[in-house]
Structure formats: C-alpha cells, structure tokens
Amino acid sequence: MSDRTAVGAVTIDRLAVDVPTLAEAADLIRRGALSPVDLTEACLGRIQKYDGMVNAFHNVMSSEARSAAARATEEIAQGRYRGPLHGIPIGLKDVFYMQGHKTTSNSRLMLDFEAQEDATVVRRLKDAGAVLIGQLNTYEFTFAGRPCFDAPFPPARNPWALHRSTGGSSSGSAAAIAAGFCLGALGTDAGGSIRTPAALNGVAGLKPTLGRVSAQGDMPLTFSLDCVGPMAQNSRDCALMLQVIAGYDEKDPMSADEPVEDYCSALDDGVKGLKVGMIRRFYTRDFSSPPQIVAAVDGIGETLANLGAEVGEITLSPLMDWHAVGRIMLPAEAYAIHEERLQTRANDYGRLTRNRLMLGAMIRAVDYIQAQRRRAELLAELEAALEIYDVVVTAGMLVPAAPLDDKEPFPYLDVPMIAVPFSLTGHPAHGVRAGFFADGMPIGAQIAGRNWDEATVLRVAHAFEAAAGLLDRKPDLDSQRI
C-alpha cells in the first residue's frame, strides 16, 4: 500500500490490488482506519478471483471468516482490541485439527476425519481474534515430497509462475501468502516443509525451535522432528504470529516449558556487533547451486556486514551427511505412523506418498540408531559454531522451482535437502527472500540461530529485509493463464 501509514479509511478496492502486510493491517485496524470486515472481504475477493488458478485452498471458510471478521470489528469498536492478530485473515495448512471441519492432509484416507477439538495453535489464533479464512493445500500427509495429481486436491501452483512447483509440504500456505489470499498462515516443518515453500514462493517462514510451538492437533509426519510455525510476507509478520502461537502446552509431550520472549520489541535494533556465520559449503561445494542462488545468499552476508555485523564463514560436515540422517529418520518415523494403514489400505494412498513411506519399511533398527548417533555428532558441530556466531546463514533452496509435473522417481534420496540440518538439530531457522532469478522467480535463504533465540533470528532477518529492499515485488497473477 502506497500510503500505508496514513490515517484514513482503506477501501476494499484498494486492498484487493494492494495487499497490506500483517503488521500494516494490524496498525490500521488498531487505529480504526481499516475494518476487519473489509480486509476479509478483500482477501475473499482475491481468493474468488485467483484461487481457481493457484489451488492454495482445500476449503475456503467464507461464512465463518465473515462472522469472525464482523465479531472482531464489533469488539474493536467497543474498545476490546485483543492485539495485532485481531481481525487479521489467517490460513491454516490442512493438517490442523479444527472442530466442525474435516482435516484431510490431502489424503483419501482422511476425507471423513473430523477432530473433536481444535489444535492448540488453532485455539490460540482464535483467542487472539484472528479470522481463520480457510484450510490450505499440502502434499499428502505432508510427505509426498513434490506436487502430485493423484491426491484428492490438485497441487497448489506457484503464484510467480503457475506451471512451477510451490515446493512443500506447506505448499498452500506459501502460495496463499504470495498470492495475497491471507496475511499470515500456519505451516508445519519436519525436514523443510515451511522453509522450502517459503523460498520457492518468495515469502517468509519460520521453523521455530523444536518444542517452541505446540504440535498438538497437527497430523504428524514424524514423532521427533515436527514443528509448527508461521508464514507471512515478511519477518515482522512472522514475529507477530509467533508471539501468539508460542508457549508451553502440556498436551504436547515435545512442548518445552521455556519462557516466551518478546519477538517484536527488538526487531528494529539492527545487527551491529552481531556475529554471522555463512555456511557456504552447503550451496557451493556440497552442491553446485546456480550462480544466482550463490550470489543471492552471499549477498545476505554482504548486506549484514554493511549494517555492522561481523561476518565469517563456518565449515560443517558435508550436507550429504545431514541429508543421510534425515532420509533415514523421516521415512522410518513416518512409516511407523502409517504402517497399519499401508497394510490394509495401501491403494488409498497416492502413489508417490505410498512409495516414499515404504522406504521406512526398509530401514533396520540399527540404521535408525546409527543415524540418531550421527545426528548427535552433527548437533555438536552446529552448537559449537553457535557458541561463536549469533546466527548462521545458508541457502533456502539449491535449485530453481521444478516444473509442476516433474515425474523423476525418488529424486529426493540422491539430492541433498538444504533445510534438513536445522530440523535435525532443532534450532530455529527462518526463510527469507534473498533475491530473484533472471526469469523473475524468487530465491530464498535460511537464517538460523540458537535454541529459543527466535528473537535474534527474526531481528537479523528483519534487518536484512529492510536493507535489501527485495519485498516490494509481487507475483502478477493477472498476466498468467493455466
């Protein structure tokens, strides 16, 4: 929005073409210059106009969203403002339990599943007054690994180029943010499922410290790696969302009883004096990424150095070592979750999901345990680096977004996963827009930090975003056809 800070009513027509950030909308709502009803109508209008092309949603909750927006408008008018998410349209990956709604995880096996209670994060968003606008696309059981056409809902399309993959598995969450369908979304991440689609769709997405956000009521992919986190246009918006969803939950055995920091107050403190470690080997030596990716990620280090950070380079074990641990752990745990259904209803799974889950049946107990021991060694490496560096930076993607209909079998075993290191170690890792390819597709990077120190990660990310000036560019949906 060109005059975002101006006091005065903001019309639906303007909102429909100039989608505000979550922070901007929250500020306008708080000051009475924007009605949650108008904001919600603008989002629903964009969904109506464009989601037939993007497929970001499994279920648009128009009626409930309108009711929630009206309620928020009334409460705010009566002086009962609840905070920055009050009246803000938020989307939910279709893996979170929602009372009164099916939770499908885009699988034929779950089309009739309806939970008896809301996921903890859903309840926290409702308590904050958020307008839950719909359930967002995902790879089947968050595991298929790339877009599939044999799931109940067709894959989400990348708003920057509709014939390209969104990445996943939080594919609809990233696409919905990029397309301006909602101002924030929840995703889940066990091996990169927030950060990969964030990178490919040019949005921000945070995998918090393992245990920071409750995963109760999130359909599991694994038992030991699943994280729930915010996705939005930028890091400030992610901070605002994290503030609401973070915190101990006794219903989740992985939830940690750690104090929740103020994630927003230090966002503008800059990076002067902070130490930043670049993990260049992951995207230069261990995998030969295209030069545009190398330049964009290296550019984060240069920008932060110009802002006063002390930037160095760190060397960890090869990316393939981290990948190997991830590719043993994820299928093994996922298979354990799905074993009974695979034995009785194998044909109800999509083919790629079924085949990838079946890898878990091939992993012996000793392989799993050796992987967990290697994980401990790798964790020690990163912990040692984080004793010196406040944050580390690496790529968020190693290759450009693939064509939507890529059919290469099992490529994910042989090509390293750039997001998995921070899944294995549990550290908070945040996806930011780092640049663009020559064809206009976004390039993403990761900024990771110490356990429980999301505040510093977000502060560094915000400083980079503000200095780099890369966030004004938006996908042009009007010029595309499918």
């Binding site: 030991s224 079924r354 085949n355 049946a361 392989d367 021991r373 401990a376 075993l413």
Partner: protein, 66 residues
C-alpha cells in the same frame, strides 16, 4: 553389504512389511533401496565411541501434582 545380500535384505524387508505393491512399484522401491543403503552407510563413523549416544536424550520431567 554386497549386491546379493542387498537384494535378499530388500526382499525380506518388503515381505515382512505386509504391504502389497504392484510389481512395478516394487522395482522402483528396489532401486531406491540401493540409495537408502548408501545413505545408511554414510551415518556410520569408523571407530565411533559408545560415548556417542543416540538422540534424543531423555530425562523424566517432574510433574506438578494438580
């Protein structure tokens, strides 16, 4: 593991799974299994001490009586 042992291991693990796949999918899985074995081998470190424990470490939590 040599190729023959690997084939035998795959066949046994597949049969033990109790999951029925089409012959075409079994062959796809068999190819993927070769990559999986390589990755599993990569997690081993020669001479690794038993002091290197598996993650996650576990310690009981104290529960407050309600």
């Amino acid at each position: 593991m040599n190729k023959t042992d690997q084939e035998a291991a795959f066949d046994g693990l597949y049969r033990a799974s109790g999951v029925t796949l089409s012959p075409e999918e079994v062959e796809e899985l068999r190819k993927a299994y070769g990559s999986l074995v390589s990755l599993a081998q990569r997690t081993r470190v020669v001479g690794r001490s038993w002091e290197v424990r598996m993650l996650p470490f576990f310690s009981p939590r104290r529960r407050t009586r309600r």
